[in-house]
Symmetry: C2
Subunit: 111 residues, 2 copies
């Protein structure tokens, strides 16, 4: 479900965690330290991100190393990509209309 992904990302603290993980994988304590939150909160937020498929865990000794999970972001990218066509379509129609010398009727453009 895309909405779960979006929901997980919409929480500011989790958003920052994801931004942090862009740099490199981090352990739970490292996340907590960098974001200046307590360890349990970091753990919980990472769990939400994990449940949403946004991050993966790798266990090294006692440490749980979290890293971004490409698939989830590709899925999001695909969805966002499905909008780009809309603006292009409208520009296409605008172009056609201009070539045909039509008056532009914005009630049809959706802009």
């Amino acid at each position: 479900m895309l909405t779960e992904t979006l929901k997980a990302l919409s929480e500011p603290t989790r958003f920052y965690i994801v931004e942090l993980l862009k740099e490199r994988p981090y352990s739970v304590n490292e996340c907590a330290e960098y974001l200046e939150i307590r360890q349990p909160q970091a753990s919980k937020h990472l769990r939400v991100l994990s449940d949403a498929g946004l991050v993966s865990v790798k266990t090294v000794a006692q440490k749980h190393i979290y890293s971004l999970n490409p698939e989830a972001f590709c899925q999001l990218e695909d969805w966002i990509g499905s909008f780009g066509m809309l603006w292009e379509k409208r520009l296409d129609r605008l172009g056609e209309d201009l070539r045909e010398g039509k008056e532009r009727d914005d009630s049809r453009s959706g802009i």
Copy 2:
């Protein structure tokens, strides 16, 4: 704030409204009808989407016609795009390492 955009989209009903508006602009009542929700809810959800910059309104007589706002989606697309580089970078490193005949150390790959 990107988190506001994400939050607005993360609500299932609003997500469907956005999907509906992909097709063409819709009035409040039309949205309510298609999504089988009551008019006030549609109005409220559209307000949230509007506050987040995801939709624009055009008033035609008493009707408020809502349509998607390209800028917001482009912003999202830019952000999502900033992740694509990461996977590529990793593939690049993998490629380099292979050419150099190195042993792969996954603790550095973040995958």
